[in-house]
Symmetry: C2
Subunit: 149 residues, 2 copies
């Protein structure tokens, strides 16, 4: 959720998206904040975000939410989770990084896991960068490559 306004972060994200493409088909969709977001209360904003998220989902997708209240995993544990999902034959894994208030109940109910990148709060742009780097790192771990110490 939310557009990317800092070009330098977007550049860093692109680097990892390119690298990731060597391992797995991966797409990043940015859903811009609603135009009148500033006038909405928390519930209205989350409801509108939920509609936008649900529109992106297809049958058979597995939804994982990047959420501060979620489980924290090491990079190796994250890689192992990804590897298991692939082995179990998941059609598509969808990771969603939400707005500032978390997600609407409907989104939490549809998700299979809440994943926290850190106990610390990051900007949504940095979450994207950290997430694509971790996903790239996960594939290098799965393949036994040198990138991860």
């Amino acid at each position: 959720m939310g557009k990317t306004d800092a070009k330098y972060i977007q550049e860093a994200v692109s680097v990892y998206l390119d690298r990731l493409g060597h391992y797995v088909p991966f797409e990043m969709h940015c859903i811009p904040d609603p135009k009148n977001a500033g006038k909405m209360n928390e519930l209205q904003l989350k409801t509108q975000e939920a509609t936008a998220i649900l529109e992106c989902l297809s049958a058979g997708d597995e939804l994982i939410l990047l959420d501060e209240k979620g489980e924290t995993l090491s990079s190796v544990e994250f890689a192992s989770m990804i590897s298991k999902k692939i082995n179990y034959g998941v059609r598509r894994l969808v990771f969603v990084s939400g707005g500032p208030y978390g997600f609407a109940d409907a989104i939490y109910e549809k998700s299979s896991l809440l994943l926290s990148l850190s106990k610390m709060t990051f900007t949504h742009q940095m979450v994207r960068l950290i997430f694509v780097e971790q996903l790239y790192r996960a594939f290098t771990i799965i393949k036994g490559e040198k990138y991860h110490h």
Copy 2:
């Protein structure tokens, strides 16, 4: 430790360094990897890094190590820690982000705290970016400003 080779990350770091300067005098020093690092074993590398770190320290400095094995704090807890250190009259807080193998024993012994930004492993460049953003965020939290949700 280690130079910054990705310009886009360096740009993002600069943005937060500028913002941070409004709250506190802060300097970032990058200690380049030793030239023959590739030929060194783990202990040699950590010993050489330790010498470089100790050269940067002055009497009265408090040393905090960014270390995966360290304590994880939320952004609010981190802000509260910074606030307490300031109130207790610390002369200078020095945060060190280490090399790939962690630190030499001498450095661990000199430190007052090990702080982990996440259970996940990040690149050393991303650690710098995440750290300066968190430090900036901490000061906005201490000052009761709007940046942090």
